[in-house]
Symmetry: C2
Subunit: 444 residues, 2 copies
């Protein structure tokens, strides 16, 4: 996709190159740099104006950032650090080895270092850890004219100027006002008269997912973050919220497939790390599926005398697993999107029960037809399977909705109660049910 740019680099026409790339989006410039041969990366990067270079730097892959930081002179690194937003600097620092972190912190100016350290102190998944301390703070008695003067003075270093937060002399949040409202109000209006006094905020210690979900709910551009004394200490912006939402979705999806979530992208994660994040659940589930095996062994006499019984085990286990994972998935997603609350438990259970009866009956009917068409098919066998399928569906769907809701109640992540775990439990129960019904009805 960068043919033209790569050609200019080949031809060493750097003047033309600079005029082309300086107008590109920083994300694209970072991608272009990553496609260059290593000996061209630094020269091209150094051609960029300082402010653009800093934006490009933020968008690079961690490996390339580390490589460049190690090559930069102290003066160079210092000048780029000056251009970074505090939350971007924190994101970079979090991925770097300790010696690089020390060098970065040493080269920051003292005020920035203080802000970075403050954010680094918040727990990993807290709202505090993703906020930036750079926001536009206004006073309620300012006029719009004064507010714009302030924005013009301090705005260049602020991540967003469009949502401004109004505080009192104790730094308590008293209102919020947007640049749109100020532009439309006119310059002599007092901020206190146009600001919104009901402000939705999060605390530094709240989960970052909670902060991100506010953006899904309210369409904010930025949300204020207050400390334990209710003082405004930072803001979270919509672009960070989008990242958190995508991350949390990925994490939920991984957990639901019995994978311990990894931060890095698929291709960049080494093989042993992939194996590590998958083996734990595989091992647990393998060991627990031994129970199903033991139940089968218990009914050895039954299936030796009527071997056709064994041939329905995969179908029953499969159906149970699929029914359970459908319900678990619906409920886990509903909980994640706040569409389902703890208090809806009985409503959900009753709903899943009725769905299970419906789909179970449909499956049982089709299965009966199939068995009656088999040479060894009998009505008794069809009855055994019909009852087993319906019972399995009811059991699977009830467990599938109960376990995630129980997890939420116990303040665990519902996503870990997903398909593989439920499948394993349902497997054991459905095989037990099936053979006890078979023994009772077929008298074997």
């Amino acid at each position: 996709m960068f043919e033209k740019e790569l050609e200019l680099i080949e031809k060493k026409d750097y003047t033309q190159l600079l005029s082309v790339i300086r107008d590109m989006n920083p994300v694209d410039i970072a991608n272009l740099l990553s496609e260059l041969p290593e000996n061209k990366q630094l020269p091209v990067f150094r051609m960029l104006p300082k402010d653009i270079a800093a934006e490009v730097f933020v968008e690079m892959e961690t490996e390339m950032q580390e490589l460049l930081i190690r090559i930069f002179t102290d003066a160079e690194l210092h000048s780029y650090l000056e251009e970074l937003y505090v939350d971007d600097a924190v994101d970079i620092i979090e991925e770097m080895p300790a010696n690089v972190v020390r060098r970065i912190l040493r080269l920051c100016d003292p005020h920035t270092r203080e802000q970075i350290n403050q954010i680094l102190r918040y727990p990993k998944d807290s709202a505090g850890s993703i906020m930036t301390t750079e926001f536009v703070g206004l006073r309620a008695d300012m006029t719009v004219f004064e507010a714009f003067a302030r924005i013009r003075k301090i705005g260049i270093d602020k991540e967003t100027i469009y949502t401004c937060f109004v505080t009192d002399s104790n730094l308590h949040l008293v209102g919020v006002v947007t640049v749109k409202e100020m532009i439309l109000a006119g310059k002599d209006i007092v901020i206190g008269d146009i600001m919104h006094k009901h402000v939705v905020f999060v605390k530094t210690t709240d989960d970052k997912e909670e902060a991100a979900m506010c953006f899904d709910k309210y369409d904010f551009m930025a949300i204020p973050v207050v400390d334990q004394e209710n003082r405004l200490v930072g803001i979270v912006t919509y672009d960070d919220a989008i990242d958190v939402l995508q991350e949390e979705n990925t994490e939920d999806i991984m957990k639901m497939a019995a994978i311990t979530p990894e931060d890095d992208s698929y291709l960049r994660t080494p093989v042993w790390k992939h194996a590590k994040s998958r083996i734990l659940w595989l091992m647990l589930l393998m060991i627990s599926s031994t129970f199903t095996g033991m139940i089968l062994t218990h009914y050895e006499a039954a299936f030796v005398s009527l071997p056709v019984l064994v041939s329905f085990v995969p179908m029953l286990m499969g159906t149970g697993g699929n029914c359970g994972s459908q319900s678990a998935t619906m409920v886990i997603r509903g909980l994640a999107l706040d569409e389902i609350e703890n208090r809806d438990f009985l409503k959900v259970l009753f709903k899943e029960f009725r769905i299970a009866l419906m789909v179970g009956s449909a499956l049982a009917i089709v299965n009966t037809v199939r068995i009656m068409l088999m040479p060894e098919g009998t009505l008794a066998l069809a009855t055994v399977l019909g009852i087993s399928i319906i019972a399995t569906a009811v059991l699977a769907k009830s467990l599938g909705c109960c376990l995630p809701m129980l997890a939420r109640k116990l303040k665990l992540d519902p996503a870990i109660m997903a398909s593989p775990l439920i499948t394993t439990i349902v497997d054991a129960c459905s095989v037990l049910l099936y053979f006890s019904i078979a023994v009772a009805i077929l008298k074997i």
Copy 2:
């Protein structure tokens, strides 16, 4: 959560109530209204100032919107419609029955009606269908002062004023400039000198997910949408992009759990609709699991002579299913986030192969120990299972990555190639492998 407000309604203290709620976020007011008894909803809604009422109306559940529209007088409905952004109006119209839609369109002013109809004409999942036609368009030869005058004049009706798009006389997009850049530049600067000329845009016919992914990649606030002649016809804003991302995530998660995605939330979807969206896959998977049953029947002689073989079937099937769904999930998510491309196919396959060898070997070792501890355990049996487990893991992980990538190549949704389908195929193959290895090694 609305104790105070509900108490004021109880006491009929509407003056106090209005002063409390008019400062609340429209999303919260909509939630409050939905908790009121039906005979209070309309009176409280009618108390709200027109502009706030319109914002609240947008945030309501579809049922309540429909209920209110049916009660509104023509004059009332017209006045609310005037306040709505075009894309919000379209969202509402898309959920309404035909007779309500006709009434809404009749009561819109002609210009708005034309814009609504234009958006409604775009295909359901296209970028055109989620865009709004209300944006601030500027000319390159305007000064910042003139630009702000224009924003002040037309801005109140625009969904976002912060990103302004610069077009030439043919409405072709030539640049983009933010309000922040204009504020910081000063009033005499010409827009053409500060605008960015490389503009990332989408076409009206592009998939809406593609438009939304641009926000994940570039941190935009708005992205321009152009028609087939490259004329600027609308913009998509970050809040709509967040909704699309969440929707697409939900859809992917549903598909991966063998559920046909439904638009509505879990609790509002009726039982029969839930059953309908689940039965198709359950039926297909039940029927296809018959193959595994047939394979078992084929090896009847083997397991009747050595019944302990049957007891390992659930473990093998479970492990195969879990291995396969782990790989499928990783690859599907990687594809969805653009972290994996079609050209990475061999890289991914080789990676999964090595992961499979690692986890397969670990599982086989643990399983060997377990078998040797069993009274009927023999080294031959342990060997049969060891080989079967490793082979199953390799097969499951290879299929788990190949099928979603194949789907992408064929322009199908990779998510439908997820766990349940792969599990069913892996089940049949692993049972076949297991029994053929058992027959060969144990000579039964």
